[in-house]
């Protein structure tokens, strides 16, 4: 097992807090040493998933959770919610605008891994 640090952010399913998710995403990515453009990309991808969770679930759905796992070679970000409706968020819309942004900016995107909504991974480029 690789050892890794975990950072978890719990947010209400409300549009006004997506900006908080963006700042936290920037903070984690910047600390890991990604360059400015990549930090921005990760932030945008996180924000897209948050928006989708909120759109599907609506205000009544309680909280959702964003977990950042920091590895030596990558950042893995997982989204979870206790709402069943959030289960397979992007299933019917895999070529929408949001999805094409997430796919462009992340190296790997996985739908509905285990009990989660989505997980996505960004690798750290080798400095050559």
């Amino acid at each position: 097992m690789e050892s890794n640090d975990k950072i978890t952010l719990l947010l209400p399913c409300k549009a006004e807090y997506v900006s908080v998710a963006r700042l936290t995403a920037s903070g984690v990515a910047a600390r890991m040493g990604y360059d400015i453009d990549t930090v921005e990309d990760i932030k945008v991808a996180v924000s897209e998933v948050c928006s989708r969770i909120i759109s599907v679930d609506g205000i009544s759905a309680g909280d959702y959770e964003i977990t950042y796992e920091v590895f030596a070679d990558r950042l893995a970000i997982t989204f979870a919610s206790n709402s069943e409706r959030a289960d397979c968020l992007f299933k019917n819309d895999e070529d929408g605008l949001g999805m094409s942004i997430i796919n462009a900016f992340m190296d790997e995107v996985e739908f509905c891994p285990e009990d989660h909504i989505l997980s996505m991974t960004k690798y750290i480029e080798e400095k050559s």
């Binding site: 549009a15 997506v18 900006s19 945008v44 948050c50 928006s51 929408g96 605008l97």
Partner: protein, 104 residues
Amino acid sequence: MSSELVIRVENTERGPLVYVSGEIDIYTAQQFKDDLYQVVDGSESDVTIDCIGLNYIDSTGLGIFVGALKKTKLNGRNIYIINMKDNIKKLFVITGLDKLFIIN
């Protein structure tokens, strides 16, 4: 809750000029949609959107740009977008929307 989006409209001889500054995301999208659609619906000429102060846009915001363009196209008019920052332009390119708008 404070909003991070400011929209200002100026009427020029070439048509309405819309200054957008701040962030367009799921929180501010409705405000952006209402304001932009009102401008587009009320105009007989091309519409220019100045994004010099726009720091962030998400897919919700991009969808509203597309919606506004559809409205203008119905009347044979166009939307011009000027002064986009690199991170904003990047999103237009990735989604292919850079081919729909006239971007300067």
